[in-house]
């Protein structure tokens, strides 16, 4: 029994008798004899980390995390607190899913391979593009991978990558690190009304542009209305059109393939994961032309020796463990289990559920914007466009003061300008929206 007074790892077996028998079989006197570490680099001190029982550890973590305030989060900008059905937790937590490794032995991994194949199929349906990999880290790193893909597939002399000036700092900075080893240069193009300023983009695009990135919806929740024109513009200049989105938005908004997108990236964990302090799931889909240049893992259908359909990791000659420095990416461990959760959540919702959730993202944002707009000193939404899940409101008072006041009343909102707050309805129940409006009344009056 490993109880309170553990003197070693509670997850490592061996009685004294067993250890003695093992040492004898090996032919040494003590475990220490098996360590071939020179004395000058040996460590014989302690880390100073106390050993605890499981119960004590749970209490410790609970008490640390218990310092977090219980706020209603009207926060979005890439991460959304949609309700995750219990089915997802219970089935994804089955230990075969949780405790397996990458599917290098497909005969013993059919279940996970099939689940990832279904995830890829979901993304193909949502994007209209032919290829989707079976997960990357998050939206920011997927964007970085899209840029290195552009560098490989675009046979132009140009090196310019264009991104909107509203791009989230986490994405912009991650992208900059990903392209640091290439000759690519990142430039911002201006936006207007929280979306692409088509004239400004047209002025910025020339033959030196390798890739243009746009988002739908944008970081400010604005629905992009010029995607067709952007697609044509990028295509005319032989650049790669990379579109950022997510599975819920893609259930309703224009299909990326229909507007000329070559690659779709984004965070797919809007389905299947709670907000998780920014943990994500990188969505990556692209046109079939780039099949041999796709980063990350791909699951393909094949047959087994009985001619039945079976699944396997495929085209691994693109990957780091085979291609080494010529690999399409360095990614190895990815987000497979999160992809499983996302696919489960999507399957739970079904097509009607997905579309309904997306539609409510439009109507509920519209309704809340109307309610805030009624206040004196508040204009919402700021951008005279259509919005998805979230919107920006102008406040006459300093935005920081309003946000701080709201926080003391139990609500978190974004501050995106001196007099601008951003509010998101995704995952917030109606009664909490009502309570927020009540609190807002107190704050702005």
């Amino acid at each position: 029994m490993h109880g309170t007074d553990t003197t070693g790892s509670p997850y490592a077996p061996h009685t004294d008798e067993e250890r003695a028998a093992m040492l004898e079989a090996i032919g040494v006197d003590a475990v220490d004899d098996l360590f071939d570490i020179p004395a000058d680099v040996g460590f014989d001190e302690e880390f100073g980390i106390e050993s605890r029982t499981e119960r004590q550890t749970r209490r410790l973590v609970r008490s640390i995390l218990g310092r977090n305030d219980d706020l209603t989060e009207l926060l979005g900008r890439g991460h959304y607190g949609y309700y995750v059905p219990s089915l997802v937790d219970h089935l994804a937590d089955r230990s075969e899913f949780l405790t397996s490794y990458t599917q290098y032995q497909p005969e013993a991994s059919q279940g996970f391979l099939q689940a990832l194949f279904e995830y890829q199929s979901l993304l193909v349906e949502l994007t209209g593009l032919e290829i989707a990999n079976c997960s990357m880290y998050d939206a920011a790193t997927a964007l970085g991978e899209a840029a290195t893909l552009a560098d490989r597939v675009r046979d132009t002399s140009g090196q310019r990558v264009l991104v909107p000036d509203l791009l989230l700092e986490g994405r912009r900075s991650t992208l900059a690190n990903y392209v640091a080893g290439t000759d690519l240069a990142i430039e911002e193009y201006p936006t207007a009304d929280g979306a692409v300023d088509l004239d400004a983009l047209r002025a910025a695009v020339d033959d030196d542009v390798v890739m243009v990135y746009a988002e739908n919806p944008t970081v400010r929740g604005t629905i992009e209305e010029e995607l067709d024109a952007i697609g044509d513009l990028v295509d005319d200049n032989d650049a790669l059109f990379v579109l950022g989105s997510d599975p819920i938005a893609l259930s309703l908004l224009q299909r990326p393939a229909d507007v000329g997108a070559d690659v779709v990236v984004g965070d797919a964990s809007v389905l299947g994961l709670p907000t998780s302090y920014g943990m994500g799931l990188g969505l990556f889909a692209c046109r079939e032309d780039y099949l041999r240049q796709v980063p990350g893992r791909l699951v393909g259908a094949s047959e087994d020796a009985t001619d039945r359909r079976a699944y396997t990791l495929t085209l691994q000659t693109r990957e780091q463990h085979i291609r080494r420095e010529r690999a399409t990416s360095n990614i190895c461990t990815n987000q497979a289990w999160v992809a499983l959760r996302t696919a489960m959540h999507a399957a739970y919702l079904g097509p009607d559920g997905m579309v309904d959730l997306a539609k409510r993202g439009v109507t509920r944002a519209e309704t809340l914007a109307d309610r805030l707009d009624d206040f004196v000193g508040v204009t919402a939404p700021v951008h005279d466009r259509r919005h998805f899940r979230e919107f920006v409101a102008h406040v006459d008072q300093p935005a920081r003061a309003i946000a701080d006041d709201l926080e003391t009343r139990g609500f978190a909102v974004h501050v995106v300008g001196d007099h601008e707050i951003q509010v998101c309805v995704a995952g917030v129940p109606d009664d909490r929206i009502d309570a927020f409006v009540d609190a807002f009344t107190e704050v702005v009056r």
């Binding site: 997850y11 570490i37 880390f47 980390i49 977090n68 890439g78 689940a115 302090y277 259908a301 259509r386």
Partner: protein, 503 residues
């Protein structure tokens, strides 16, 4: 079948029974092991056309077609899929270099605490618990690795390598040494090292091993130059051998102005015995999903925190967590804040990496403490040596620590692996490192008992005695039989839509 009273029980074989019959041996349904969700039931939903769409038609898609199943049907589908997966909870999983060890269950519960799920844009004041846990984990990892500063941001080991390479580049650039354009990587290193160095824009200089399987000091001397940005190394190396000349290696790298990078993949072998920081490494990543037991989840998420010595700390990704310095200490409790290191490389992830994995890591380290962590490495090394002593395959390189590389000799290592599946155990990593012909790279970890190791050895030894025809026909006791990899690559069918087009 004969009943007790001697009557013969016959199965109904009418047409209806035939339609719903399950092949219990392989659970075959409709000629497949398990149909895809969208083959079971799917629906196409039209969008627009004057319905209740809140958007004009030109801003929406026309339609969407997705699986449509009830919750009970989904529960059965995913339960069935889980039954077709081998995990560490199914049995031993001695994948060399991958460190597949048992994952305690309570860590799942603490990661599922409601307070763990906060939005990443919350104010620091409102998530003191999250920041305190980050701070404490940074501290734990620093002590374990002998490092001065730690970032938790990288979402995987390879992402940690990338941080190390970017930090090295920023450091050299800052010191006016931006000309350094080479990263040295031993031939036996993990493939991610090569790919990461290339992603960082470096030329990769491959370093051969000496006859004993370690870094060849003469070759290292020849490879080092004023162009060296870093040497990427793991210790013990992928053969499980400790690089005994590590101090000399570190001096050689530092003498030319390069940095020494530690690949944390093999840290499980060293816990409490040696620390990368003490060996002269300047920067390292921790594969917390290997060393500290957070489930691999079929390929992730993991997390790859990076530790550095003091000189490199100003270049780490932003933001990091520290104790508050603005005097807002509330008296009874320390407060924490985010800050950007002075010369930060910026971000390598949109937010703070795979946070829920970090919660599990913290809980695991807090549970084991000094005694548990040190015991884990001791038993990992004991188990590897015991297993190696029991198997009949040749193990050419020793003395090894937590893993060893056996050679399948005249047999094909990939076939050996398939055949081991028939014995109900997961095979080792095969055909790598290439230093050993037909490599069987084996890492039992600390969590296997003597009896399980004996069972594993018996499986190795049974296969070692078998003829080629037998192992080439394997596996025949898994869900699926040997899968045709060639046709999967030649005719890629990567989605249900591609399958439907094909048929």
């Amino acid at each position: 079948m004969t009943a007790d009273d001697g009557r013969t029980i016959e199965h109904e074989t009418d047409e209806r029974a035939d339609q719903v019959r399950y092949d219990q041996a392989r659970y075959v349904e409709d000629g497949q092991y398990e149909p895809l969700l969208c083959e079971k039931d799917r629906t196409e939903v039209e969008i627009g056309d004057g319905d209740d769409s809140p958007l004009p038609d030109d801003l929406t898609r026309d339609s969407i077609e997705l699986p449509e199943l009830s919750e009970p049907e989904l529960a059965r589908h995913y339960t069935r899929l889980s039954q077709m997966i081998y995990g560490i909870d199914s049995g031993p999983y001695p994948l060399g270099s991958c460190t597949m060890k048992y994952n305690p269950k309570f860590t799942e519960d603490v990661a599922a605490l409601p307070d763990a799920a906060v939005h990443p844009d919350r104010s620091a004041e409102s998530i003191q618990g999250t920041l305190e846990l980050c701070y404490r984990l940074q501290d734990y990892l620093g002590r374990i690795g002998g490092m001065d500063a730690v970032t938790l941001q990288p979402p995987a080991g390879a992402a940690g390598e990338f941080v190390g390479i970017r930090v090295a580049a920023a450091y050299h650039e800052h010191n006016g040494e931006g000309h350094r354009d080479e990263v040295i990587v031993p031939e036996s290193a993990h493939g991610t090292n090569f790919a990461t160095a290339a992603l960082g824009g470096y030329d990769v200089v491959s370093l051969p091993s000496d006859d004993a399987g370690r870094v060849d000091l003469e070759a290292l001397d020849a490879a080092l130059s004023e162009n060296t940005a870093a040497l990427m190394l793991t210790n013990p190396n992928t053969l499980g051998l400790f690089e005994r000349d590590i101090t000399e290696i570190a001096d050689m790298v530092h003498d030319v102005g390069g940095l020494l990078y530690y690949d944390g993949a093999n840290l499980n072998a060293l816990l409490g015995r040696a620390r990368p920081g003490d060996m002269g490494f300047d920067v390292m990543h921790y594969n917390v999903h290997k060393t500290f037991a957070t489930p691999h989840g079929g390929g992730g998420p993991g997390a790859g925190p990076v530790g550095v010595v003091e000189d490199l700390a100003p270049f780490l990704p932003a933001p990091r967590v520290r104790e508050s310095r603005d005097g807002t200490d509330t008296g009874s409790e320390q407060t924490y804040e985010l800050f950007d290191p002075e010369h930060t490389i910026g971000r390598v992830h949109g937010y703070q990496g795979n946070w829920l994995v970090l919660v599990k890591t913290f809980a695991y380290i807090a549970r084991l403490g000094d005694e548990g962590l040190t015991d884990a490495s001791a038993k990992a090394v004991l188990n590897a040596n015991y297993l190696a002593s029991r198997i009949e395959y040749d193990v050419p390189y020793e003395p090894f620590h937590h893993e060893f590389v056996a050679s399948a000799g005249d047999q094909d290592a990939a076939d050996v692996a398939k055949r081991m599946l028939d014995y109900g155990v997961h095979p080792p990593t095969t055909k790598w490192p290439e230093i050993v012909p037909e490599a069987l790279m084996t890492e039992p970890t600390e969590v296997e008992s003597k009896s399980t190791l004996d069972r594993l050895a018996a499986a190795f030894n049974a296969v070692a005695e078998e003829d080629d025809a037998t192992i080439e026909a394997a596996p025949d006791r898994t869900t699926a039989r040997r899968i045709d990899q060639t046709s999967a690559a030649r005719n890629p069918r990567l989605s249900w839509q591609a399958l439907a087009d094909d048929e």
